[in-house]
């Protein structure tokens, strides 16, 4: 389970690629630096896409939790 305080949670389960990533990007753009955003995704592409984007865009991945049929990505807006 998550051990950090989550400011915003996005349930993107059921959305195909690149839906969950696009939802996360939208939330990061709207958010403030330091905010923690959680995305739930059942899309296989997210497994690689979300970490790749976080790395590229310079944010921080706090946790990646495999849940029952979906993954919980917990991301901190770093800039």
């Amino acid at each position: 389970m998550a051990t950090v305080n989550i400011d915003r949670s996005i349930d993107a389960r059921g959305m195909p690629c690149p839906g969950p990533l696009m939802s996360l990007i939208g939330a990061i753009r709207e958010g403030e630096i330091g905010q923690v955003i959680e995305v739930l995704s059942s899309d296989e592409g997210s497994k690689t896409d979300i970490p790749a984007w976080i790395n590229k865009a310079g944010h921080e991945m706090l946790e990646v939790v495999q849940d029952d049929g979906f993954i919980r990505f917990i991301v901190k807006k770093a800039r």
Partner: protein, 160 residues
């Protein structure tokens, strides 16, 4: 610091000696140039997904709309059923319908929101269909001759 380079498809990009190749990663700012010719929903959806991925990874995207793809971007036509490529067959169409997801126009819209995505109508095709830029969906930025499209091209061109 070494940053592991993972492409959109999740494959590590390395050269023959196993060293990370920077193409498609944080060092590469080359433009994704797409020529969209086909107007079926499956191909437009594939193009929209590529565009969104490239825009997300900080790449500029340069799109040229010709023939049936241009017709699909007509404002009164975008949301209509444009069918699937012939290879889809009845079974393929069933898969497409079952999978659902967002409409390609919405994916293009999101890509334009997060990145630098230029969508240009081919002037030859515009003339052929008797269209003006106002007749097209607002996703389309302008009308270009083919040489103008190539002004924005700085690498390979993908034809869909």
């Amino acid at each position: 610091m070494h940053i592991d380079c993972v492409g959109i498809l999740g494959t590590k990009k390395t050269d023959k000696t196993g060293r990370p190749k920077h193409q498609g990663c944080e060092m590469d700012d080359s433009t994704l140039s797409l020529v969209l010719f086909s107007g079926t929903d499956d191909k437009l959806n594939a193009a929209a997904v590529l565009t969104a991925g490239a825009a997300a990874m900080g790449r500029k995207v340069n799109i040229f709309l010709q023939y049936w793809a241009l017709a699909a971007f007509r404002a009164d036509n975008v949301l209509k059923d444009h069918g699937a490529a012939p290879e889809a067959g009845a079974e393929g169409v069933e898969h497409l319908q079952r999978h659902g997801g967002q409409h390609w126009s919405e994916i293009f819209r999101q890509a334009k929101e997060i990145g630098e995505v230029g969508i240009h109508a081919c002037s030859l095709s515009m003339e052929m269909f008797g269209l003006k830029v106002e007749d097209l969906d607002p996703l389309v930025d302008d009308q270009f001759g083919v040489a103008s499209f190539f002004v924005e091209v700085d690498g390979p061109v993908t034809f869909i």
